[in-house]
């Protein structure tokens, strides 16, 4: 993509780059050696600690059940967030000013409050007020994630509809559809397709944020890892494994989101948005990429 910014380096440039690569390779290798030496001094390279963090027992009784809980929370939270997002996103596009304002207040509120505060609050709230809720830490995690990510998706829905070419709604009105009908049968379906990759990127946010559940003892991956670590006394090793699991899983989701955005762009007149996965919709670039 950047080829327009520079020429392919010539022989002198290539030599320079080669020299730079070798030099930085040496530096990186030096850093790695330093890290390993310090870890060895601290006794953190003791094979027993790593085996305990990697063996079948760790996976069977800690990581995998924890991961199952992480995925369970993330799956429900995503479905709930999409429902919440479509509902309030459409609410913000409503012709009724009251509905519009109310949806706006709800969406802006839940986008502004940190998920961690929301989880703490809901956890205590469920424990004290809604005692019929069966699995309360789980419910607090899911509901907090739905409220926050649902608000983000509501914004995606709204901007998705807004970013459609005007011809779409004009054509719908011209064939005699009412405003609501054109929203339902012409605009929304295209906006939803356009935002699907962004929803999958949002799933990355959901998965990462579900790790906050560890602070209210929801037995997700990070919590399970901590329990493993407190018995084996290997927090560094166990957390490294858990971090790698998160990275691989989220990376696969990001790749999926990217693929989808390429595939789906033919099915909508809007521009598919990938989102960068930080939890806020990114304004879709209006100008084509420099090629």
């Amino acid at each position: 993509m950047s080829s327009v910014l520079f020429d392919s380096p010539g022989p002198r440039g290539r030599r320079l780059v080669m020299f730079g690569n070798v030099a930085s390779g040496v530096v990186v290798a030096g850093v790695v050696v330093f890290v390993l030496v310090v870890l060895a001094q601290q006794g953190q390279l003791d094979p027993a600690l790593w085996v305990a963090a990697l063996d079948g027992r760790a996976w069977q009784f800690y990581y995998l059940p924890g991961l199952q809980n992480t995925l369970r929370a993330a799956a429900f939270a995503t479905v709930g967030a999409v429902a919440f997002g479509v509902l309030f996103g459409v609410g913000r596009l409503s012709l009724n000013p009251l509905v519009r304002v109310l949806s706006g207040v709800v969406v802006e509120f839940f986008r502004a409050v940190p998920v961690l505060l929301m989880m703490f609050f809901l956890w205590v709230f469920f424990s004290r007020q809604l005692t019929w809720v069966p699995d309360r830490p789980y419910a607090a995690v899911v509901v907090a994630l739905v409220l926050y990510n649902g608000s983000v998706i509501a914004e995606l829905v709204r901007s998705g509809v807004r970013n459609l070419p005007r011809g779409q709604s004009e054509a719908a009105l011209a064939v005699g559809l009412t405003g609501a009908q054109s929203l339902r049968s012409v605009l929304l379906p295209q906006a939803l397709v356009a935002m699907l990759p962004a929803v999958i990127s949002q799933l990355v946010v959901v998965l990462k944020d579900s790790a906050l559940g560890t602070l209210i003892a929801y037995p997700e991956l990070l919590r399970a890892t901590q329990i493993l670590a407190s018995g084996e006394q290997n927090p560094l090793q166990a957390l490294t494994v858990a971090a790698l699991v998160f990275i691989v899983l989220n990376w696969l989701l990001s790749v999926l989101a990217h693929r989808l955005s390429l595939t789906l762009s033919s099915r909508t007149s809007g521009k598919t948005v990938e989102g960068v996965g930080i939890g806020n919709p990114v304004a879709a670039p209006v100008v084509p990429e420099p090629h």
């Binding site: 950047s2 327009v4 910014l5 520079f6 392919s8 380096p9 440039g13 780059v17 730079g20 690569n21 930085s24 310090v38 870890l39 601290q42 953190q44 802006e108 986008r111 502004a112 409050v113 940190p114 998920v115 961690l116 505060l117 703490f120 609050f121 205590v124 709230f125 990355v204 990462k208 944020d209 790790a211 906050l212 560890t214 602070l215 990070l222 927090p235 560094l236 957390l239 858990a242 971090a243 998160f246 990275i247 899983l249 989220n250 990376w251 990001s254 960068v276 996965g277 930080i278 939890g279 806020n280 919709p281 990114v282 304004a283 670039p285 209006v286 100008v287 990429e289 420099p290 090629h291």
Partner: protein
């Protein structure tokens, strides 16, 4: 009614809510500065002519943005401080505050990088061609032509990153910064569970009051500074 306000007074005297918010604001401010610098360097690396730099930039972004922030903050204390004995300030509280700032900056730099890259994508190809045509090498073209326009184009996503950073600064609780908002709210609720709604409302409102102006300002700036084409 008087009793109610007396109880409130007691609650606020015992817990420093304003101080807690000030902590999060400071965490956000310093982390934002470092993340902006680091993120710009990463964005330059990702569009640079040197393949190994592009690879390093891409690898950084893909690893960091897929890692839960909680894990990064825990690693700052567990690895950087505990095992490598990196001390950033003589006092314990200052030290953990700074470690949390670095952790937040490392995480959000990945998103700053992506925001700037999306800004680079708003720069028309003719601009880059013109820069090349007058003989500017890569760094000069980036510094004089591409980045100034890219920054303007990336204000909206950068604003979103700043908002996310402010909210994520609560995760510093996992890095022994126990006087920030999330920890303070938790202690207050444990101390006076009967005031649950009020306590949550105060903290939620605090964040709404902080977040909405950032959103308004960045939208205004991004409209005002957008390069009219």
């Amino acid at each position: 009614m008087d009793d109610y306000f007396a109880e409130l007074g007691e609650l606020f005297e015992r817990f420093n809510v304003v101080g807690a918010f000030w902590t999060n604001i400071q965490l956000t401010f310093w982390a934002a500065l470092i993340a902006l610098a680091l993120g710009t360097v990463l964005a330059l690396m990702r569009i640079s002519p040197i393949a190994s730099l592009r690879f390093a930039g891409t690898a950084y972004v893909n690893v960091i943005r897929n890692t839960p922030l909680t894990v990064i903050i825990i690693f700052m204390v567990l690895v950087v401080w505990t095992l490598f004995a990196v001390t950033l300030a003589p006092g314990f509280n200052d030290n953990f505050f700074r470690l949390a700032v670095i952790g937040l900056a490392i995480y959000h730099a990945a998103f700053v990088c992506e925001a700037i890259r999306s800004g680079v994508n708003t720069v028309p190809v003719g601009q880059a061609e013109a820069a090349r045509a007058i003989g500017l090498p890569f760094l000069a073209a980036a510094r004089l032509v591409i980045l100034p326009q890219a920054f303007r184009g990336s204000i909206a996503p950068l604003g979103n990153t700043l908002i996310a950073l402010l909210k994520n600064s609560t995760v510093a609780a996992a890095g022994s910064v126990s006087w920030e908002t999330a920890s303070t709210m938790r202690l207050m609720i444990e101390f006076r569970p009967d005031h649950l709604y009020l306590i949550f409302f105060i903290f939620a409102l605090g964040y709404v009051v902080l977040v909405i102006p950032i959103g308004v300002v960045t939208t205004w700036l991004s409209d005002r500074l957008a390069v009219k084409r």
